[in-house]
Symmetry: D2
Subunit: 303 residues, 4 copies
Amino acid sequence: MRCEAVAFVFLFAPVAALAQWNVPPESARCPSKWGAGDERGSGNHMKNPQNVLRGARLIKAGEVIELSHVLGPGMAIQSTRVYNMHPKRTSPVPGRNNRGSNEEIMTGEFGQIGTQFDGFAHQSYGDFHYNCFKTSEIATRNGFTKLGVQNAPAFFTRGVLIDVSGSKGVEMLGDSYEITVADLEQALARQGGMKIQPGDAVIIHTGWGKLWGVGTAAAEWLAKQDPMLVGSDNAPVEVSPNPDKDLNLPGHQIFLVVNGLHILENLKLDELVAKKAYEFAFTMQPLKLYGATGSTVAPAAIR
Amino acid sequence: MRCEAVAFVFLFAPVAALAQWNVPPESARCPSKWGAGDERGSGNHMKNPQNVLRGARLIKAGEVIELSHVLGPGMAIQSTRVYNMHPKRTSPVPGRNNRGSNEEIMTGEFGQIGTQFDGFAHQSYGDFHYNCFKTSEIATRNGFTKLGVQNAPAFFTRGVLIDVSGSKGVEMLGDSYEITVADLEQALARQGGMKIQPGDAVIIHTGWGKLWGVGTAAAEWLAKQDPMLVGSDNAPVEVSPNPDKDLNLPGHQIFLVVNGLHILENLKLDELVAKKAYEFAFTMQPLKLYGATGSTVAPAAIR
Amino acid sequence: MRCEAVAFVFLFAPVAALAQWNVPPESARCPSKWGAGDERGSGNHMKNPQNVLRGARLIKAGEVIELSHVLGPGMAIQSTRVYNMHPKRTSPVPGRNNRGSNEEIMTGEFGQIGTQFDGFAHQSYGDFHYNCFKTSEIATRNGFTKLGVQNAPAFFTRGVLIDVSGSKGVEMLGDSYEITVADLEQALARQGGMKIQPGDAVIIHTGWGKLWGVGTAAAEWLAKQDPMLVGSDNAPVEVSPNPDKDLNLPGHQIFLVVNGLHILENLKLDELVAKKAYEFAFTMQPLKLYGATGSTVAPAAIR
Amino acid sequence: MRCEAVAFVFLFAPVAALAQWNVPPESARCPSKWGAGDERGSGNHMKNPQNVLRGARLIKAGEVIELSHVLGPGMAIQSTRVYNMHPKRTSPVPGRNNRGSNEEIMTGEFGQIGTQFDGFAHQSYGDFHYNCFKTSEIATRNGFTKLGVQNAPAFFTRGVLIDVSGSKGVEMLGDSYEITVADLEQALARQGGMKIQPGDAVIIHTGWGKLWGVGTAAAEWLAKQDPMLVGSDNAPVEVSPNPDKDLNLPGHQIFLVVNGLHILENLKLDELVAKKAYEFAFTMQPLKLYGATGSTVAPAAIR
């Protein structure tokens, strides 16, 4: 499908426009490779036991490296989203054991704050989501009747860190940068000639948070590797604003809408990078929030 | 410490009262075995790589069994807690890629709804939490300054299912039942003579949800096995109301306050039990909610 | 403008379709009679001191009759809306005066729950709100930049109760009923030949809650009287579902979108009706919620 | 009761300590002057029709002056409280009338944010609220079973503005100031020798927001005037921090706990003061929030 799109541009547009990305036509998007009606996209890789075993085999030292930020004072938050926690004492409770009890009411966009996992209800191309489910048909006042994040599996697979920042040396570059396919390949080569395998959790270290991110070509290249998910240490994973001024977060569409590929944002990667832990078992279980667009998560790398 | 309590009861009470449980004195509770000032309790077991490796070695088939309930319509909820999800469309977004976007604001006690993990700020004996941190000193309007659930590690260890329900045959018993030490030992024996090892995640299948649960003696026996956590398919893990009418959820204090042992409630165990998966790698990462009393979680068993 | 619409129907439709209502064209809706750019609609009546004085003159006995329902256990709520209250103790506070303090976090659609006042951001005809403000231009993730309910004035004017239920005798009618212009006129006649004056707060007693309500003709007749607002003891004020199966709450458009006339829902009218208090000073002050679509209110009648 | 307290201090304390305030003993607080079990306190004044009529007689020009701040961007907020508004589109709605609909979910301490009215559940002396209702007996996880703000009446009475700021000339004083009885009397004298009458709504203009406020003596003097409520343009009404370092907001106890006198905070008084509107009909209806400690309000002055 992407070949067709490129061909089209080639015939009718000047050379400079070759890089211009457009949403592929419906015939190229639907049904998805996982079949008509599928709601799990890249999560289907979890049905392959070899992915689990490939992850488990990487656990040799018994070390766990946590990959999520703390939700609380000082946390980064996007757009108009909020995270509020209001502690409540629910005691005293009668009884000679004098039990004290506390809980807290929280408000927030728990699919889209903190270290966050994106499901397929999150993004669309007009009315069309992944596998051509229509917003107008699946969105209700109580959540999405299809594509809700409760469909996402518990993830356990091989994780691969691509340290683009380390590969390029962040101190040498301008503070805004669109990561290219060559950047990804160069970083993998520098990490001992690593290869991405289908079903991997691919984690990209940009190093400069929101100022860097993958471009559309790198996003399409990543999707072609057929991974389980693509994560990053910044919020949109992709470069933003996009260099093409008439595109708004096209990577979200390339990943979620066109390819049914989950993304994972705002990872905390400092420890993983410092330890040069390029390969590991990746474990993460999104909350089963019925009909929701995503889930705040706390993934971990194990090796 | 518990010996003292028993001795006291022995002198002044009839035999039947020997089982009467009281909160051990401060000298018997603090400092905890993990040291004065420790905030992680049984989570410290994760610092032992052998626990991680023991879990990883159990992954042979590449099968993942999910252990959490969906949060949404029809979910069970305790007390006055709530779970509300309010979807919001945040599109249309300008740009020729016509990106649609959705998110949702949620409100709820996200530490204490759904399949839920309890931290040490959740419960106290009067003003005293685990390791004698005082509510009056650590509770603020923004959350707990000590013992917040962000201290809990990412869990990955051997999981052990104790199928009490299967062991006893639920159809033969009354509908309220206090699980005893003998019940636990009998179930383990029936499962091939399994042993709980320090650092294990112990998961108890009661089968009848809220009507069953461990008694104080079984709770103390479990704590003595030094596990990583104790989970169950009901909300309080322990029997409730307690047969001793003057005690209110003493198991919460035995686990969280006295022994610094995490608990895990409302597990979905049907698949695990049906498959007789008594031993597995247990994986779970509580959300890093600063200063909170617990976290909604989505743990999984891998084998 | 409505004449044109009627004429159109007259020419091309059979007699039975004369009652068929359609949204008037833009030229008939905009600018509103209050001028282009106006955001206050019928609230502009409050700029006329005579309306205030006409209300004040009705205060003779010094009696206040409250017109709002309690928000709490057992309250009626529409759609998927929620009202949750979570009390918090914020004490103890240091000091010899041993001050205890409590507050509560609340969640809810506070413009659209309980006894509720509707502003002009609440409803539209496609993309068009009152005075042709466009949703696509004024709706943001933080609220509406135009037509927010903070524009609504504090109301104090003559209130008129139209007791349709009392006029017709509810026990004689079927349980679904579309209130007609004749019903309104008959009820006013029965109340001593009362007249609605421009700037009045018109309160309709249906008696049977959600099962009754004004039809489109009665809604247009009411709008023609040029009142300050139209209120009722049910949620949509208008009959719902509409007898014309292809219309969904057209009264909301007649009042809010076409005529810029505020509506007031879920009034508690039992005391007012029992006392036959047909005329009174009406007082209500919507909360000044910036950019919101409405406000929960607690209006009162004074006489 | 206050005489006793003063006498006690007179006998046993040096002159400088005469001003030292302490919470009066239970015998001096309970039952309240409105009778044992009363939950309405100063709201009982609304049962006297003369209060309503005295207010109505002040309406001569038909002018309404609004007294509340907008809740939204830039609003002042106390402590850890929040105000969040999340707009939701609930359309498109089926039907040829193409109805668009919007609402918003809000979260906040709606009794204690914005221009706010305090009920008697808000404050206590230890376990004791107004009329010696005990927190431990009336506070539940769903709200207060007694003293909830739904007990407060719709207010309509004579309002009196005391312009302390105007009387003293704010530019001549330091930026922290405890308002004295003499200040209040001087301001009233300057306003034509006005007198506070029982049942009045007394509104104090401090002019400098949070930096000024009434001291304990002025608070007790105000309570002695037997008004319907005491309001101010700052959040605590009273001076804060209190000059007596061992007292924390004692005025809240003098008003709410000891005297059962409602208070009203964060009033917007600029227009009232600029127009020298010292006397007016005061109208306000707290939301009927069952079991809550207060209500966000939008009072108005009419004259």
